[in-house]
Symmetry: C2
Subunit: 366 residues, 2 copies
């Protein structure tokens, strides 16, 4: 059933989106303020369950694109993703009937809400990553046959580029990344336009609801002084993301971060509170893999999430600092994201990692 998203949902939603963003997906705080302002100006947003979308609807997902290190410094006005949507509509010669997130996490759970509020379009409760990933071809949409092209990129001064790389979503990413770098490292996009039937077939369903559920679970546990991580694990059992594992608890001992070819890349290390164990994290915008004492404990596409040890507040890769006390958790991804064709696009090898994918629930005991 469709529901109305009001301002009251936003704090929980932003927190949950930051968890599912696995360290990336842009700044959820900025995103929340943009949505808040848009709702205050235009009223609540209609969220459509994917099952409700007409098969012949035209759904155009919208998002922000860029390195989180840059996004941090450049606050969008909120008009940029609408400009991208309009440029793509104009290119297609057709009007969108709904927008949708391309990823579930950080600011990109929020950008489609900004677009929805500003345009009056509904937003579909689904996305193409089931988490955040750094590159545009890393979409279940693409894995199951929807092409990203044509896509529109919009800059802060109203510049647009409509890119068409045919069926080659990797080439599309490469070209769009080049434009984004020239736009100053951050841009807004509209891509993977698709029918309602394609949404039902290729999208990870109900991830806006999931983000809200995650954020709410953490808040409610805090409010009654329960363990937020344990409570979150219980709540997730009823979802497509059924397994939560605690991978590590300790203090950040090292962070190495660089902005390179339009991405924030790096690694972080932490030492357990008893000084006996060492964690190593690798990231490209998002966390890719967590190793404990050299052994893989959780690897993409499963979610590696860094939370602060006391409040379980999610910590993005650009906020990681020496000395932070953290809990690192792994969350299992839906089956849709673990098929051989999905792993070919966003499994460990797609990131140049030498590890085989193994489900987090097999790697770590409950």
């Amino acid at each position: 059933m469709s529901w109305q998203l009001t301002e009251e949902y936003l704090t929980d939603l932003a927190r949950g989106a930051a968890v599912l963003g696995t360290g990336g997906g842009g700044d959820p705080y900025v995103g929340r303020l943009l949505v808040q302002q848009a709702i205050r100006e235009s009223g609540p947003i209609t969220v459509l369950d994917p099952s409700e979308v007409d098969d012949d609807a035209l759904v155009i997902p919208t998002a922000q694109m860029g390195a989180p290190t840059v996004v941090h410094e450049k606050i969008p006005s909120g008009e940029e993703p609408v400009t991208a949507l309009r440029a793509l509509e104009s290119h297609l010669g057709a009007k969108a009937t709904a927008t949708m997130p391309i990823e579930c996490g950080g600011i990109n759970s929020m950008i489609p809400l900004v677009v929805a509020a500003r345009t009056g379009l509904p937003v579909v409760d689904a996305d193409g990553m089931g988490r955040a990933f750094p590159e545009l071809q890393m979409e279940t949409f693409g894995v199951y046959g929807v092409t990203g092209s044509p896509m529109a990129v919009a800059g802060e001064r109203g510049e647009t580029a409509v890119i068409d790389a045919g069926a080659d979503n990797v080439r599309m990413e490469w070209l769009a990344r080049g434009v984004t770098i020239r736009l100053g490292g951050v841009a807004h996009i509209a891509e993977y336009s698709m029918s309602g039937a394609d949404v039902k077939r290729t999208a990870v369903p109900r991830t806006l609801t999931l983000a809200h559920t995650v954020g709410k679970a953490i808040r409610e546990a805090r409010e009654r002084n329960a363990d937020p991580v344990a409570h979150l694990g219980e709540v997730l059992k009823g979802t497509l993301y059924g397994h939560l594992r605690v991978l590590f608890r300790g203090k950040v001992s090292d962070v190495e971060r660089r902005t390179e070819a339009g991405f924030a890349r790096g690694r972080a290390a932490a030492v357990s509170f008893d000084g006996e164990h060492e964690l190593e994290l690798e990231f490209q915008n998002e966390n890719l893999v967590a190793l404990v004492d050299g052994e893989v404990r959780c690897v993409v596409p499963d979610l590696v999430c860094v939370l602060d040890a006391e409040q379980a507040e999610p910590i993005t890769t650009e906020s990681l600092r020496y000395g932070q006390r953290i809990t690192v958790i792994g969350i299992s991804t839906p089956d849709l994201m673990r098929t051989p064709e999905a792993l070919a696009v966003f499994g460990p090898a797609a990131f140049g990692l030498p590890h085989d994918f193994r489900p987090v629930e097999e790697l770590v005991a409950p």
Copy 2:
């Protein structure tokens, strides 16, 4: 009057275009072969005098974009500029009635001929640079109010990007250059779509004819063992490019060339045959300035052309080699290209050169 361009014109035209390319504009030899093939397949090309173009015609110029150092290595199929034209037509929702060069020089005198032969469109005998320049905003079209956007960029695999930077042609260049770099350093483009009235108002007229005249003058002088440079000077007196000056004769003593941010940049030095004088050339794809013994002898937008000392065959910046025996000439540009608004866009300061513009006919005695 319109005329038919056949295969017989091409050798002189390519040579003349290489002279007017002032060292850049891409490889005229490759361009000539592409046009030759297209004419053999599709018949001769109709060349329209600008005065004949209907005021409400839609003229879409086409070109190649990229660093000559890369262009040298990647031979186009000839279909790429047609892909760019079609992408822009589709974006505009209108069909071109003619194409036109954006610059007069090197391969970019040839690419619109390839497009004309392949599409059956006529080509307008005019361009927007009156020579070759390295950047897309450096157009009389833009100087006199035609915007370059929207523009289409096409890659060798059929990828397209339609860029719209509004009235900001510098921003358009910046974004298109980024796409071109990601396409491997060379791309084909369609831009500055305009009406026939705009062509008459903003284009440098009859530069295809000029290129043919220049190439023919050099050939005819060679055939009768006359001095090609002296004969070229005589022939140019009857055109908008009325003043030719010999700036230097000598041997190349040093060439420094690098591909940087999508351009071939560098400098070359030469020593006079008597060892008494030194020439310094600076280039960014094209030759920008010639200094003799530290004094400016010819500077953009006037043409600095390097010819081989014996046959007056033009030498492009990427073909400059230690030990070459050269004659360096300066050619005056039309008044349209020397106005204050034109100099602001492609005068010395636009290239970061510390020199004021002074006409070559004032700097050097006949």
